[in-house]
């Protein structure tokens, strides 16, 4: 497979709370032939707080990131974090306006000279690498794992800016998990907000919103809630105790989709980085292997049954054939019925 080289913006949380996302993303990209060139000395995109203050300030942070990339010839950038993606993408969109761009330049004093693009790691995997290539790398399929994919609010919204997947019923992560072998449950709250950006100043929101998402996932019988956003992950995983204190009945591991990819690709523990999750993923894998054994046993049983059925049908066909011949000899009128019977036998 041909290698592709892309600029990479890890985002601040990759250095801290989403270290497992960062490690597994790099490992998965390596496996899939995506050469990541990290933007040198990148800065924070400003996240939600910056555009709360002013979109120009927010865009100025993003503009410096692009300028840093430009310096070393990087113009096509990918990032794992939807919040960073949203900020960087919005900055590019806003800067199409000349006055806005000039206002940003007045802050950075480093006007951009080239055109830039920013995409999510998920979009590149699904659209540029392709599900077939992902499938080809699976060594340890996730057969038997019941998963729900949770996308959060930023990945696909607003529709006109993000232009990726369906804004109400996205399927990209579902498809990735399916080719990894997992059973993906149709999760209706895929894009419901978990309140992540408000989890510190408005603490009450976490059990209310994240709790609702985890509760439905648990009720649907999911083993894991798979995510692609560090903010969501922190809110659903790290703060799951807060939700449980407020009445959540389930305990659910919340891995990043890249961690499950790394696992299915058969990569090392250092690459999957499961140990960094707050809620232990081991119980989910226990459920998975139990169910996987059941599935295998069921398949074996079906195979035996099918074989028996085929043998019986063959015998019956042979007998009917013989019978037809004798019947035809005795009674010409009986022929049509016998023929249709043998046709039916053949079809079976």
């Amino acid at each position: 497979m041909s290698k592709i080289t892309l600029g990479y913006f890890p985002g601040c949380s990759g250095l801290g709370t989403s270290a497992e996302y960062e490690k597994s993303t790099r490992a998965v990209c390596r496996e899939l032939g995506i050469d990541l060139r990290e933007i040198p000395d990148w800065n924070c995109c400003g996240s939600t707080p910056a555009h709360t203050v002013d979109p120009v300030l927010s865009s100025a942070f993003s503009a410096r990131v692009f300028a840093q990339g430009e310096q070393v010839g990087i113009t096509d950038v990918i990032t794992p974090c939807p919040s960073c993606l949203s900020n960087l993408r919005n900055a590019l969109r806003h800067m199409d306006d000349e006055l806005f761009a000039a206002r940003v330049d007045a802050l950075t004093e480093r006007p951009l000279k080239q055109e830039h693009s920013i995409k999510s790691v998920l979009q590149v995997i699904v659209e540029d690498i392709g599900l077939d290539s992902v499938k080809a790398r699976v060594r340890k399929p996730l057969t038997g794992l019941k998963a729900v994919a949770y996308y959060g609010c930023l990945m696909n919204r607003p529709e006109k800016v993000m232009r990726f997947d369906d804004p109400e019923n996205p399927v990209a992560m579902d498809q990735v998990l399916e080719v990894l072998g997992a059973e993906v449950l149709p999760f209706p709250l895929k894009v419901d907000c978990c309140g992540g950006s408000m989890s510190i100043p408005a603490r009450r929101s976490t059990p209310h919103l994240a709790g609702k998402i985890l509760d439905l996932a648990g009720e649907m019988g999911a083993d894991v809630v798979v995510v692609a956003c560090p903010l969501c992950q922190m809110n659903l995983d790290l703060r799951q105790g807060q939700s449980r204190a407020a009445g959540l009945k389930y305990t659910l591991p919340v891995p990043y989709f890249t961690q499950l990819m790394a696992y299915a690709f058969g990569l090392s523990d250092a690459d999957t980085a499961f140990k960094l999750l707050a809620e232990d993923i081991a119980p989910a894998f226990t459920c998975m292997s139990r169910r996987s054994d059941e599935i295998k046993a069921e398949e074996a049983r079906k195979a035996v049954l099918a074989e028996e059925k085929a043998r019986a049908a063959a015998e019956k066909a042979a007998k009917t054939q013989a019978g037809t011949e004798t019947a035809a000899e005795k009674q010409p009128g009986g022929k049509s019925r016998a023929n249709s019977a043998s046709a039916a036998g053949g079809a079976a």
Binding site: P167, E168, P188, L189, L216, E219
Partner: protein, 652 residues
């Protein structure tokens, strides 16, 4: 030529932003203008009398009226000048209302523009010729397209008046959407009980020929004599032999076919009689579901049919007919609500459409009139109705109100309580629109007597949790977010013009708006006519309306058609093309482009020449613009006349 110019004030409609007296004064200076004045209401009787008097007094030979659009009053004033003894085509209009006074407030600019428009009209009038119509016989037969309640009403009224009527219906039965309804608002009487007798009347009326399971293939010709081709789709059942006994539908093994009549609530067979009261009560096979027609094996219906009516080799049949007028009554369809992913996009079985719910309520429906959740067959207790799904929603390109959803939702809430006394209905609405006789009282009754909970707000999300559906909405009057745990969610899906109405409009050469609704001749004064003479509209195809309005419009369309076809002869429009034989070189380009095949080649002393068939020409002028010699000219819109208008502008 002696031209008279009349500048209409139209009360203050024109005079408010145009100095009419100044325009008249200016007009008096134009070439050949013998008399010019302003007038309060030109179209009113005193106004018309004044025009007639002026024609006589000043020996006028042509008249310009500057007033409203010619699409409104050109016929009026043509009759006026005719009454004064002039030829009706020695008349021109300048549109100084819709095109001037109503679209700008600058009196100086408006007055100048009005004067220039009058100059253009006068310049054209100078080249007008007297034109005389020819008369031709009328075919006293009416085609009604669409057998819903509006089409049925139009067909019956016209047939009762003595006209021959051909009724074409796309589905295997007439009855349309009304036949699918359980009850009707605000009287809550049984829909099929009131529609059924009318359907039987259609079947039994000696003047009505019904082609069910048929579509209009093509239409040619013009008012008084349309030639239509009707495609009678293969039903694979000989309807002459079929008695409608229904034995075939009982024995058909393809039992998982989509039930179109029942909106997919429960499956049906491949050979069907849509419902017990169907007219015609004949069986038909839906090809895509039939095992024999798709797989080559089966033939059960042919075996059981007592009259040998099944014919798998049947092919579509084209029927040709000549009619004098056409009523389009093609109705509406529900919008594709599955674009609403936030309501499940069709993934949740217990989210149903209002029309599906009607079939669940109907005693002759697939559930026998018992309300059951499609997922598990359990009787629901909490039923949520969501209104305006696909209505008043600019984000999906449907900004209009569908008009009848508020009322049928109220009716369905009442019926829910009647069917399940311990149930609770919740209705999410934006505004309650109930401006009919007894309608608002009805929407009060559902809340006061039947205790349906009306919540003012849209619903943002519906999702399944366990065996419930969580409905997340807002109560904007309380100013809070609300949630309902529902057993069943009914979407009051908005409506749009029937799926193939645009295609039919093109065949009929009538206009349709951006939503596919057919355009009436005038939004107020010609609600059932179209701009194509002889084509009339009835029912929801013109704009969404409820049953009483559809019936009224059906009758109105019939009345218009009866009026037209009561005449033995019609006058042809003399604004048609004519050929100057000495200029024509016989190249035949006009024959090629004419959309109506109204030009034929003739031999004139050994030379090929074009000749216009006067009764066929529709006066589009395509030939005129095509002719390299300028030999073929459109009367009343000749090259010289149009260029005179251009010059009247450019010279100044």
């Amino acid at each position: 030529m002696r031209i008279g110019v009349f500048i209409c004030h139209c009360g203050s409609n024109i005079a408010g932003t145009v100095d009419c007296a100044a325009v008249a004064a200016k007009a008096a200076t134009y070439p050949d203008v013998a008399y010019a004045t302003d007038i309060m209401y030109a179209c009113a009787e005193p106004g018309q009398d004044a025009i007639i008097a002026a024609i006589k007094e000043h020996q006028l030979s042509g008249v310009v009226v500057a007033s409203c659009t010619p699409r409104m009053h050109e016929p009026t004033f043509r009759k006026t000048v005719e009454r004064a003894g002039l030829n009706r085509y020695m008349f021109e209009m300048a549109n100084i209302r819709e095109h001037v006074s109503w679209i700008g407030k600058d009196i100086e600019a408006n007055t100048n523009k009005a004067a220039e428009l009058v100059r253009m009209a006068a310049a054209k009038l100078r080249l007008n010729k007297e034109l005389k119509p020819k008369s031709f016989p009328v075919t006293k037969r009416l085609l009604v397209v669409g057998g819903g309640v509006a089409g049925i009403q139009a067909a019956l009224d016209a047939a009762d008046a003595g006209l021959e009527v051909i009724l074409v219906e796309k589905q295997p039965t007439i009855g349309g959407k009304m036949a699918k309804l359980d009850k009707t608002f605000p009287t809550v009487d049984c829909s099929s009980c009131i529609l059924g007798p009318r359907m039987v009347d259609v079947a039994q009326h000696p003047n009505i020929t019904l082609y069910a399971y048929s579509e209009v293939e093509s239409v040619s010709g013009y008012v008084g004599n349309f030639d239509v081709k009707i495609r009678k789709k293969a039903s694979y059942v000989d309807w002459v032999k079929c008695t409608g006994c229904g034995l075939c539908t009982e024995k058909c093994p393809a039992r998982k076919s989509y039930d179109r009549f029942n909106e997919g609530v429960g499956p049906t067979t491949a050979i069907i009689i849509p419902f017990p009261q169907a007219i015609p009560k004949k069986a038909s096979i839906e090809r895509e579901h039939c095992r024999l027609l798709t797989g080559g094996k089966c033939g059960v219906c042919a075996k059981v049919c007592p009259t040998g009516a099944i014919n798998y080799a049947m092919e579509d049949e084209i029927i040709e007919a000549r009619v004098g007028g056409i009523v389009a009554a093609t109705g509406y369809d529900l919008i594709d609500w599955k674009i609403y992913e936030e309501y499940g996009g069709g993934r949740y079985p217990d989210v149903v459409t209002s029309l599906q719910y009607e079939r669940m309520l109907s005693a002759s429906g697939p559930t026998g009139g018992h309300i059951k959740r499609p997922s598990d067959g359990v009787e629901p207790k909490d039923v949520v109705f969501i209104q305006c799904v696909g209505s008043r929603d600019p984000s999906i390109g449907r900004p209009y109100c569908s008009g009848f959803c508020c009322m049928y939702t109220a009716k369905q809430a009442i019926l829910t309580k009647d069917h399940i006394p311990d149930s609770q209905s919740y209705v999410f609405y934006m505004d309650i629109r109930s401006p009919g006789k007894g309608y608002d009282e009805f929407t009060r009754r559902v809340q006061e007597e039947y205790k349906a909970r009306y919540i003012r707000g849209r619903v943002s999300l519906v999702y399944p949790k366990g065996n419930k559906l969580i409905v997340r909405g807002a109560d904007t009057l309380m100013g809070v977010q609300v949630e309902v745990e529902a057993d069943l969610v009914v979407l009051a899906v908005g409506a749009e013009a029937a799926s193939e109405s645009a295609k039919l409009a093109e065949k009929l050469r009538i206009s349709y708006d951006s939503y596919g609704f057919f355009m009436e001749g005038h939004p107020k004064l010609k609600p059932v006519e179209t701009n194509t003479a002889g084509v009339f509209l009835a029912g929801a195809c013109q704009g969404l309306k409820d049953i009483p309005s559809s019936v009224a419009q059906g009758s109105a369309a019939a009345a218009k058609a009866i009026g037209l076809l009561s005449r033995d002869m019609l006058d042809s429009d003399p604004q048609i093309a004519f050929v100057s034989a000495n200029r024509c070189v016989g190249c035949g380009k006009c024959i090629e482009v004419c959309p109506f095949k109204a030009i034929q080649e003739i031999d004139l002393r050994g030379q090929p020449k074009a000749e216009v068939i006067e009764t066929v020409c529709q006066g589009c002028g395509l030939c005129n613009a095509t002719c390299p010699q300028g030999a073929i000219q459109l009367s009343h819109f000749t090259d010289n006349q149009i260029l005179a208008e251009v010059e009247a502008l450019c010279r100044f």
